[in-house]
């Protein structure tokens, strides 16, 4: 079943089109930076972008930071929102369940496929970023590569980049959990996607509001950019750990709710 869902996911032209579109923005940014040589000043613009002109190996992180606020969550919400609602809308859900695929099994397989999509997408963005970074910018690590101003060795950058990729993937899993949850409630994939995005927009908005500060630590987008802390010297673990724990709670609760709903609902699509 998991194999079937993975086949469906990665045989689908839309999956690859989404990933391609997602990579367009970092590519455009890299080309513009090279042509103009105008990097944002440190502390402005997306994280890491100010440093990439001096060290291209940081570009995977800059690429992730560019797509993280909007593009990546949209892509994940589209794919995860489509997971169950898309089958319902196409009418194929009833045939899968009458096969019988088993409702729990189907949901688990959908979840695994969405997780695979998240991981593949994040890895491709980082990979394309690495190719761009090393091809277009200086790859020499010079002083001041860490956010704290100290130097990091290429091995340290590599290791921490992998950790950052993992952290971003976990953050996106939270988005996927929201979309999958909504996806079990509606027969409209667009509705599920929009529901998840509405949650993220609300979360981002509340985060900027002082009055919402009591609930700020529980907002799903609160610790998304904490992966920057991996590049402090020494690594500042506090927000990263909190971010992982928070996403873990969201994912656990939402998936349990999605399962409870999906295994007991009448499939009338």
């Amino acid at each position: 079943m998991i194999g079937v869902e993975l086949r469906k996911m990665f045989q689908r032209p839309r999956t690859w089109a989404t990933i391609a579109v997602l990579n367009a923005l970092p590519i455009l940014v890299a080309v513009l930076l090279v042509l103009t040589d105008l990097a944002p000043r440190p502390g402005e613009g997306p994280p890491f972008l100010s440093a990439v002109l001096r060290n291209g190996t940081l570009y995977p992180l800059a690429a992730l930071a560019i797509v993280l606020p909007l593009f990546l969550p949209i892509a994940v919400a589209v794919v995860a929102g489509d997971a169950v609602a898309g089958e319902a809308q196409a009418g194929t859900l009833r045939y899968l369940l009458a096969r019988p695929a088993g409702r729990t099994r189907l949901l688990v397989a959908k979840l695994v496929a969405v997780m695979a999509f998240v991981l593949v997408t994040v890895l491709i963005v980082a990979g394309v970023g690495y190719v761009l970074g090393t091809a277009l910018f200086d790859a020499e690590p010079i002083a001041g590569t860490s956010v704290s101003g100290t130097s990091l060795t290429p091995a340290e950058i590599g290791g921490r980049t992998m950790l950052a990729i993992g952290y971003v993937a976990v953050s996106m899993l939270g988005v996927a959990a929201f979309a999958l949850f909504f996806s079990t409630f509606t027969d409209s994939p667009l509705g599920a996607t929009m529901g998840a995005l509405a949650v993220l927009v609300a979360s981002s908005l509340l985060f900027t509001l002082d009055a919402a500060s009591p609930i700020a630590p529980y907002l799903p987008t609160r610790y998304w950019l904490a992966f920057v802390d991996l590049f402090r010297d020494p690594i500042l673990w506090r927000d990263i750990v909190r971010g992982l724990a928070l996403q873990g709670v969201y994912v656990g609760v939402l998936l349990a709710a999605a399962w409870a709903n999906f295994t007991t609902k009448d499939v009338t699509s």
Partner: protein, 306 residues
């Protein structure tokens, strides 16, 4: 050949204040071609979905091939082939790929035999030469055939088909009818849900009629359309028929005279010997349409929607 294949007891589905299925007791036996008739909105689809475990009953029992549903679905559904409310496929994939994915997504379909079973199912429904083009380029009839192929993949013991000839041309309808009768001769029980009386009449040995959520009729078609004990006489002079057979004439409708008695030969002899012209004689049988209309109260497709 007559054990129960599909039975329900007091099956009820309540949607809010609407009782879509109101205590039905279906009884489908091995070897039947069972016609499940009902107007649109009479609860047919909800019933079919409950049989397959898609919709959970409010109360009542379902037994499918000896297992309680929906609990036994994992074991029993691989032995059932279904076409539910029209076919549905992944448009960007070929028919073959669609069937292969469908087969792989549930237990009971061995990977080893998959390619061959897919090819056979496509051949059975007349899609053997369709090639690799994506399903989105199929005609409605081809999609219907592909849906039927999906139902046949596991060589099921029971076929549950909802409007299987929908969208097919007359030739296609005949082909599918022949295929279903052929499968039935091979031992497959067929449960056919339809609002088309003609389709049920041509295929089915038993019928159940659903009206506003209630099963108002369930019997062998041959029993329902058995002679009534009267004879229909066609004569250009109906009043002379009445004069000759006084007391036995039940009704006159134009040139059609209904006469009590189930011996057309004797009646014919009396009329001819009295010099009454007779254009035709036959035992009176209710048509399936009359039976269904009488049972359902309102006409098909006009059943009041609550």
């Amino acid at each position: 050949m007559s054990g129960p294949v599909l039975t329900t007891r007091a099956l009820i589905k309540q949607y809010g204040r609407l009782r879509a299925v109101d205590g039905i007791d279906l009884d489908v036996r091995a070897g039947d071609v069972y016609g499940f008739l009902g107007a649109n909105g009479s609860g047919k689809t909800t019933t079919v979905r409950m049989l397959l475990g898609l919709v959970l009953p409010t109360s009542g029992e379902i037994e499918l091939l000896g297992e309680r549903m929906p609990r036994g679905g994992r074991r029993v559904l691989p032995r059932v082939g279904a076409l539910i409310e029209g076919p549905a496929h992944y448009g960007h994939l070929s028919g073959r790929e669609n069937l292969s994915l469908l087969d792989a997504s549930g237990r009971g379909g061995a990977r080893r035999t998959r390619t061959q079973r897919v090819a056979e199912a496509l051949e059975q429904v007349g899609l053997g030469g369709v090639g690799r083009r994506p399903v989105k380029n199929y005609s409605l009839g081809m999609r219907q055939r592909l849906g039927l192929a999906g139902a046949l993949l596991r060589r099921p013991e029971l076929l549950v088909l909802d409007e299987p000839t929908n969208g097919l041309d007359p030739q296609g309808i005949t082909e599918i009818r022949e295929l279903l009768l052929d499968l039935n001769r091979g031992g497959t029980t067929v449960f056919l849900s339809s609002h088309l009386l003609a389709e049920v009449e041509q295929l089915c040995t038993r019928v159940g009629v659903l009206d506003r959520g209630r099963l108002v009729l369930q019997d062998r078609l041959a029993t329902l359309t058995a002679p009534t004990g009267s004879t229909v006489v066609h004569s250009p002079e109906p009043e002379r028929v009445r004069a000759v057979l006084d007391g036995r004439v039940l009704a006159i409708d134009g040139h059609r005279v209904v006469v009590r008695g189930d011996d057309p030969v004797a009646i014919n002899a009396r009329l001819v010997s009295a010099g009454v012209p007779v254009a035709g004689l036959a035992l009176e049988r209710p048509t399936p349409e009359e039976v269904v209309l009488a049972a359902a109260g309102t006409g098909p497709d006009r059943g009041s929607i609550r």
